[in-house]
């Protein structure tokens, strides 16, 4: 409906345009024709007026008028009059009734004019416009007559042959252009239409209601579909933006977690290699790279057997059976002498599975077990050592006893010596057993104090008695510096005895013959300070930080030559700490050693548990 109205308006406009153009063209044509007519008339009348009046009358006049009628009339000459000086018409060409149709004032103006005169008037009854040109004939200084020519202004025709041809050509080209443009637009519209429809079908939830063969829809329709498509697109864009944001957040979280995992792996003191099922390395941590002395980019995505040295391969690579079910297996030990000399590494391998239980790769872990191995070795050495320490006094006791029993020893002096040795060895065994019990209690965290009042006098006496025999054999003198008023303290008497005997025993062991040992006791406000000083070998700077460690034995050959369990000082230190006290050591190699025990003096109330 709307488009029909548009068509009508367009057609009207077109018609109006054509009419205006035709009008303008006709006006132009008329102006041109009248100009030509004026020129022709002026020229012809001027030419005729040059003739003597006699030549235009009589016989000559007829000849002249006939020629004029023959050549000029067809181009619009209506009449030709020649008047004499008095105004009498002496020759005339044209219809006989013409004279009466020409208005009188026109003739008057023409006859009385002394120069060329052009006048225009409508011819009565015919509706034509006539142009009259008049010029006086001048002879021997006076006017001898007048020539008048009347021309009809030709009516211009819009449909001249030339114009029709031109218009035909223009119309043809116009038509061709219109066709071309029309089909161009239709083609473009069809494309647009199909694009908009596919847009709709693609993006809208409900499929397009316009089904059937494609047809060129109106621009209106296409625009509407485009708008719909655009709004759907905008909606989709928003959704996409939102989901993009969600994805970015998720990605951020995931990459954060991934980084965390990588940092955890990299901070581990265990080598980790993760491979896929074809042994290609997917991840390797910093510790492992350091062990292999390789760069990450040299390892990642490379097959493990290609990048690991040949001798390490059996430990790292070949054990598919144990991981087939995703289990874990220990693959053995490996060394990295170039990067970690002297260390032993245990390799274990774990199969990695996906959700369905298929093996997707494995994780190889390389752990430094040097300390464990060393601890194991130390334990074994300790066991051998303790066995030796226990069996040595037993051996002495048994063999001496047998010698006495079978009567092999006859003289009383030697018998006495043997009995003494048996006693000393028994005490040595007892001390060792006590130390072993203490150390196992310390190990279990079960060493507790059985507190009671300890009289220092008795404590010192008992301890000296325990080491006196050994000292005497080496001609070592033991001095005691005790205050007049010996303090008492609260503590575990037996443990304190063990602590002091260990110090005194060490002093006897590691002091050469004819040396001197001093045990002094000082009572301070809250402390009882025991000091054991000797003139022994002393402790080297290398050994000093380790002397309280369990099983530690000096490498000094003079000290290593003397048997010992490496337990005494560790136990002593533990006992002193349990009493809330401190142990201190000062030593000068070659000069001697001084140990100080500071034991807090607790008030003891009778009845206190």
């Amino acid at each position: 409906m709307r488009s029909k109205r548009i068509y009508v308006a367009l057609a009207t406009l077109l018609l109006l345009g054509v009419a205006m153009i035709a009008h303008v063209v006709l006006r132009q044509e008329q102006r041109k024709l009248s100009q030509e007519l004026v020129d022709q008339g002026t020229n012809l009348v001027s030419l005729l007026a040059l003739q003597p009046v006699q030549d235009l009358s009589g016989e000559k006049a007829n000849f002249f008028l006939r020629t004029l009628a023959e050549y000029v009339s067809p181009s619009g000459l209506v009449y030709c009059f020649v008047h004499d000086a008095t105004g009498v018409r002496i020759a005339s060409l044209g219809a006989p009734d013409l004279v009466s149709k020409i208005p009188l004032e026109i003739q008057t103006v023409s006859l009385y004019s002394t120069e060329l005169k052009t006048q225009k008037f409508p011819l009565d009854g015919s509706g034509q416009t006539i142009y009259e040109f008049a010029k006086p004939i001048l002879e021997s200084g006076g006017k001898s007559g007048t020539v008048r020519l009347g021309f009809r202004l030709p009516t211009p025709s819009f449909f001249s042959a030339e114009r029709v041809r031109l218009m035909g050509t223009v119309a043809f080209f116009g038509f061709a252009m219109a066709c071309f443009v029309y089909y161009g637009i239709v083609f473009a519209l069809r494309r647009l239409n199909s694009v908009s429809r596919s847009l709709k079908n693609e993006w809208m939830e409900a499929p397009s209601t316009q089904k059937g063969p494609e047809r060129a829809a109106g621009i209106d329709q296409i625009l509407r579909e485009f708008e719909q498509g655009l709004s759907v697109l905008r909606g989709r864009m928003k959704e996409l933006e939102k989901s993009k944001l969600d994805l970015e957040t998720q990605y951020g979280v995931t990459s954060f977690e991934k980084n965390q995992l990588r940092n955890i792996l990299n901070s581990m003191r265990t080598g980790v290699i993760i491979t896929d099922h074809q042994e290609n390395i997917l991840h390797i941590n910093v510790y492992m790279l350091r062990l292999l002395d390789r760069k990450r980019e040299e390892m990642i995505d490379h097959p493990l057997p290609e990048v690991v040295a040949q001798e390490k391969l059996p430990a790292l690579v070949c054990h598919p059976d144990m991981e087939a079910q995703g289990g874990k297996g220990n693959a053995g030990e490996v060394n990295f002498p170039e990067t970690s000399p002297g260390h032993v590494f245990q390799v274990s391998s774990t199969g990695l599975q996906d959700g369905e239980g298929a093996v997707v790769g494995r994780m190889i872990m390389v752990e430094d077990v040097t300390n464990e191995r060393m601890a194991e070795k130390a334990k074994q050495e300790f066991l051998a050592h303790v066995t030796h320490e226990l069996f040595t006094p037993l051996t002495t006791i048994r063999s001496y006893n047998e010698m006495l029993m079978v009567g092999e020893v006859t003289d009383t002096e030697t018998q006495k010596e043997f009995y003494n040795t048996i006693l000393e060895e028994t005490e040595r065994l007892q001390r060792l057993i006590q130390n072993l019990l203490s150390i196992s209690k310390i190990e279990m965290g079960a060493l507790t104090l059985d507190k009671s009042l300890v009289k220092c006098e008795w404590l010192v006496r008992d301890c000296i008695a325990a080491v006196e025999g050994g000292a005497r054999k080496k001609c070592i003198t033991i001095d005691t510096h005790l205050p007049d008023n010996l303090p008492s303290l609260v503590g575990d008497k037996e443990l304190l005895k063990i602590a002091l005997i260990n110090l005194l025993g060490n002093a006897v062991k590691y002091t050469p013959e004819h040396g001197k040992i001093t045990l002094s006791l000082t009572a301070m406000d809250n402390l009882a300070v025991f000091e054991v000083r000797d003139t022994g070998y002393g402790i080297s700077g290398e050994d000093l930080p380790h002397i309280f460690e369990k099983f530690y034995r000096s490498k000094d050959p003079r000290i290593a030559a003397i048997t010992g369990s490496g337990l005494g000082l560790g136990i002593t230190s533990e006992i002193v700490h349990l009493h809330g006290g401190e142990i201190e050591v000062q030593s000068e190699p070659g000069e001697g050693t001084q140990f100080s025990l500071r034991i807090p003096r607790e008030e003891y109330y009778l009845g206190k548990p």
């Binding site: 226990l390 010698m403 092999e408 003397i562």
Partner: protein
């Protein structure tokens, strides 16, 4: 007596050296003593004892090293080595099997048994 049998006792424990020395001397043997494997090795080279009685765990050089270093000497001049040890483990047994003319004696030992072992060797 020029031809008295010579026995070397190597042990870092004085009382043990003392009792073995006494037991053997009472039977008329010539007894030499050393307190560690290194000294023992020197005496074996210089004094050429007929029997060496040695402890395992000793400073400077242990009994095992002493045995291993003297094993080749036994080809030219055979002598018995008695190794005294606290625990006889399978490793020690297989080790001793590789040593020529060497026997193990478990600690604590009986001096009489030790003497029997020595005399049995000399009777051979």
């Amino acid at each position: 007596m020029e031809n008295r049998r010579r026995i070397l006792v190597v042990d870092d424990e004085g009382p043990i050296r003392r009792v073995i020395e006494m037991k053997l001397k009472n039977r008329g043997y010539d007894v030499l003593t050393a307190t560690n494997g290194l000294d023992g090795l020197e005496i074996i080279h210089t004094e050429k004892p007929d029997v060496v009685i040695t402890d395992i765990m000793m400073p400077k050089m242990d009994g095992k090293s002493l045995c291993e270093q003297t094993n080749s000497l036994k080809q030219q001049r055979p002598f018995l080595t008695i190794v005294m040890t606290c625990r006889i483990s399978p490793e020690e047994r297989s080790w001793i099997a590789r040593m020529k003319n060497t026997v193990l004696m478990e600690k604590p030992f009986s001096p009489s048994k030790l003497l029997e072992e020595v005399e049995a060797y000399f009777r051979r």
